[in-house]
């Protein structure tokens, strides 16, 4: 099982447990799935026009975020510099250290009908939003039997 980036209260923990149990019976159809947990946390959703990816990636230099799209696989990578010294020294005392520091990479497998040339990404308030347009849906048609 995974550990979430954010701790949850009891009710959302129960909900997570339920979802985990559900996923045993309904495995993700993708070979990669999306591994859960870690930095940044991801939300993915799709509409008929676009696939929207939200990465909760606070405290990054916008220029240092690497977003790549290669054959339908979106990767988000970068490095978050530590804000704190490694250890307590004679001047400072670390009381809590829960925030992520270091390199990260997360992969999202996108649907087949996305347009790799129509991707836009923005970073605001520590939230990275990547929007990938889908090719205009081909209307359903009946196939003639010869």
């Amino acid at each position: 099982m995974y550990r979430s980036l954010f701790a949850r209260d009891l009710f959302s923990e129960l909900e997570r447990l339920q979802r985990d149990l559900g996923s045993v019976f309904e495995p993700s159809p993708s070979i990669r799935g999306i591994s859960r947990g870690g930095y940044p946390a991801l939300n993915v959703g799709s509409s008929p026009e676009a696939v929207e990816v939200y990465a909760f990636a606070p405290g990054l230099e916008p220029a240092s975020i690497k977003v790549d799209l290669d054959r339908g696989v979106l990767s988000i990578a970068g490095e978050r510099a530590p804000t704190l010294p490694e250890q307590s020294d004679e001047k400072t005392t670390l009381h809590q250290r829960e925030r992520f520091a270091g390199r990260f990479r997360r992969i999202v497998s996108l649907p087949d009908d996305i347009d790799p040339n129509a991707v836009c990404a923005s970073y605001r308030d520590g939230l990275l939003h990547i929007s990938v347009k889908r090719r205009s849906a081909t209307p359903a048609r009946r196939i003639e039997i010869q």
């Binding site: 980036l5 939300n43 959703g45 809590q96």
Partner: protein, 126 residues
């Protein structure tokens, strides 16, 4: 009196709502304590930092620019609110708390009160 009761109820209703616990780093030096909290997606105007007696509470509402008709397919962040509370100790000066928010990281500085700065105690001789 009724107004007071109303305020208490309002506070209680937001306090019992499920929320995400933002991860924090806390570091202390000779003059005070610095707290860093990850709260991605919280704009400055929906961040609330409150000091009530010895309680420091940070709370923020998550704003997702989600277009209409969005069908979620993978959700790791499923709540719209962050909340976390800390108890301050007596030597901290709650009236001098300062905070800044940058790229979803909140930095709070709580200095130690002047009377709590290190000093040598005179020994009285009678």
């Amino acid at each position: 009196m009724s107004e007071l009761t109303q305020t208490q109820q309002d506070t209680r209703s937001t306090e019992t709502e499920a929320a995400l616990l933002p991860p924090v780093d806390v570091v202390e030096d000779a003059t005070g304590i610095t707290l860093y909290a990850d709260m991605p997606g919280v704009p400055r105007e929906s961040l609330q930092l409150r000091v009530d007696g010895d309680q420091l509470s940070i709370e923020g509402e998550l704003v997702l620019p989600a277009p209409a008709q969005l069908q979620p397919s993978h959700v790791e962040v499923n709540l719209q609110r962050y909340r976390r509370r800390f108890t301050l100790s007596k030597e901290l000066d709650a009236s001098q708390v300062s905070a800044e928010l940058a790229h979803g990281v909140l930095r709070v500085r709580i200095p130690k009160a002047a009377h709590a700065q290190p000093r040598r105690i005179e020994v009285q001789v009678h």
